[in-house]
Symmetry: C2
Subunit: 443 residues, 2 copies
């Protein structure tokens, strides 16, 4: 679904008109960075660049959109004509999707005449921000599950349809097994799963009848056992297995309320005693990484988790202090000095240093510096054309390989006492000092 | 933008196929309710029904979508043909948009053959849930501002494009003055505002030069003064006023970092001493209702607030325990008894009792009961056709009038010691007891 070019803050357009009026048409470099790690995160997972590239590649104003702008009374005809013909023809660099990222590291770099680069701000922020947060949250949930499957069940509680789709994608990117969201399955080619809802059980005259009917149509299904009384529900599954004999192929029962840990233990016991050791236990109900960790630690015999709300809204870290900042214009480094928000000037590169298979230190340097380490920012778009396909499976593999390189304490759910080390290069520090002095003198 | 019929959890479709296989085609009543008020809320504001009605009115599966389902291998051709012809032809009742709502009250009621009603679950939940939460959050921000303008600046931090648009709409619904989001302005006909960004200032060789250029093009603009040093920035606005004399028509300065309270005081002083009493002060930077309340209480001379992230992600109450539950099928009340989640059976109505201009008590009764009070659930769609236009201006007026009827302690930002009283009618309680007994005996 194409996103409208009007998905932008009004000031991007008024500034754009001012750039035109002032004949400011030089190259600008904007960088997307976040300033601080949320309290409950040790890393963020870069995600969402494919939506940015799609937006840039198809960016144009429709007649209806231009008419709407015309009626605002602040835009000149000459500017509206300029917008009518405007396409994004710049370059984009980004950290590849699935890469672990840390504060102050540019995630995306947009290099284009300032008019074009400025107009993209709102959408670039909107997409990278929440998708990267969602992937980071999902990564923790998957980590907590210690190899058990994690499914995204959050479509109903995510903030809107766009969020629901992309949380499903981000969960898969971060190692989840799939989603319940059918549209996400179609759009992103990810596995889709489903069980049954309470309404199905309720619509039947008895729970036993609903189980039998569903298993007749879907022999290898998962049966939801907590509509009336969880353990009685489990016993009805046992009854069904006796009734069906060899034809009983139900794969799992699902617990969706109550104390999941003790219910899982009792459920396992009932199933095992009935010779149903192969029937798995699936759990859902307000789960997040903390509860899953506790369940796993307590040895709850749960085989897979459906995770909804708290992942879908990224409950404990729902936003980053992220910004899309001008760092260079007309070949000159630009900065910003407002309280606590110092911005280093100039186009940057991130050099990730690897030792013995682990990432040990990132240095943010000038783009043209020669420093040791892997360069994180890679070309994604040249002259407005994508030069790299974003493949979700590749992003997913990259994330897995990134995890194995992360210092183990940073994989923990608790905040690490020592954050991952990121520093600025000497040359970047020199550039900051120099421009700071110029501004102190000049403005 | 039409939402795909595949925006649904997979189990809705597998259950739907089971209903068809079992010839279960009787009328179902589903109700959307939330079970608990979030800790930081005294009320929720019903919102989002227009998106639900649009979805239902245009619901259909495309050939591509049916092909995708066909390839899952779990759907029979007969069922897929049934989906191909499927339209939503049911009835919908809902609490009108802008109405204040409380736990256990049905916000939406869908009455249709169970197949049709079941398939709508995911989208109904997705839209009503987050839009109602956004309106409730925005209402608090507007309340805290005590008559000062509140603008939505959250497009970049909302979770996706759908969230951004609808948070803008919800903010206006709840008394906000407008949004920075141009697409929301076009789509919903709400006022659009904008100032300037740091990048504009940075792109110029000096801050003074940027102010002069912007004011030349937009004489009545707002100038952003904190790119380098806030108070020096304010003095440059004063310099510009001297330079331009009568031609100086700048309306406001914007503070976007630092201690907004003390900076606003000092800014006001500098402006007043320069004879610029008419230049207003606009503030933004991580604001929410709590910070705005404190600024207003401290007498900070701020005239308007731009509110972004914390409103856009509904930081302190980002989800409700909301569900779309089957309460009646084939004329018979249905319930659910799983731990802590008891559901009252049968189709309901909410009776709101008003005394001396204030709402004093809501009673949730059977739909066909005759109880005193206003009936909150009103018909929105009949046989699949909307019978009521949802007009945002009307919703906005309704919300204002609702606020004046709310008991004053519940308007406070702090949680009220006494929540708004909501009870179930005797007849509904009888119905629950009766069906509970049947199930205890029968299943």
């Amino acid at each position: 679904m194409k996103t409208s070019a009007l998905f932008t803050d009004l000031y991007e357009l008024t500034m754009a008109q001012a750039y035109v009026a002032e004949h400011m048409d030089q190259l600008a470099v904007f960088e997307l960075t976040f300033r601080k790690m949320p309290a409950n995160r040790n890393y963020i997972v870069a995600a969402g660049i494919s939506d940015v590239l799609d937006f840039l590649a198809t960016f144009r104003f429709s007649g209806e959109e231009l008419d709407y702008l015309r009626k605002r009374g602040v835009f000149l005809e000459t500017f509206l004509r300029r917008l009518q013909d405007l396409r994004f023809a710049g370059d984009v660099y980004a950290v590849p999707e699935g890469t672990l990222v840390f504060p102050n590291e540019p995630l995306v770099q947009v290099i284009a005449p300032i008019l074009e680069a400025q107009l993209m701000e709102t959408l670039v922020l909107n997409q990278i921000h929440f998708q990267s947060l969602a992937a980071a949250k999902a990564a923790r949930v998957v980590e907590a599950a210690k190899g058990r499957s994690v499914l995204d069940f959050g479509a109903r509680r995510a903030h809107g349809t766009d969020a629901a789709l992309k949380v499903a994608r981000a969960t898969y990117l971060a190692g989840g097994a799939g989603t319940s969201n059918v549209l996400a399955g179609m759009k992103y080619g990810i596995p889709v799963f489903g069980t049954m809802a309470h309404s199905y059980v309720q619509a039947h005259d008895s729970e036993a009848e609903s189980f039998e009917a569903f298993a007749a149509l879907y022999p290898e299904t998962t049966l939801l056992v907590d509509t009336y009384d969880t353990l009685k529900g489990v016993r009805k599954v046992v009854d069904l297995s006796r009734k069906l004999g060899n034809r009983f192929r139900v794969r799992a029962v699902r617990l969706d309320s109550g104390d999941l840990g003790s219910l899982a233990l009792e459920t396992r016991k009932i199933l095992d005693e009935a010779g149903l050791e192969h029937v798995r236990i699936f759990a859902s109900s307000s789960l997040d990484e903390y509860q899953i960790r506790d369940l796993v630690k307590a040895g709850a015999p749960i085989d897979a988790f459906g995770v909804g709300t708290k992942l879908a809204v990224m409950e404990d870290a729902s936003h980053l202090d992220i910004a899309y900042k001008l760092v260079e214009y007309a070949g000159k480094g630009r900065l910003k000095l407002s309280t606590k928000k110092v911005l280093y000037p100039g186009r940057k590169q991130v050099f990730r240093q690897i030792e013995a298979g682990h990432m040990v230190h990132d240095v943010i340097g000038r783009f043209d510096e020669e420093l040791p380490g892997e360069r994180l920012l890679q070309p994604m778009m040249r002259h407005g054309r994508a030069i790299r396909d974003i493949d979700l499976e590749e992003s997913r593999r990259r994330f897995q390989s990134e995890l194995t390189r992360l210092p183990p304490p940073l994989r923990d759910l608790g905040p690490s006492s020592v954050p991952y080390p990121v520093s600025f290069s000497e040359r970047l520090q020199d550039d900051l000092d120099k421009i700071r002095k110029e501004i102190a003198g000049g403005t």
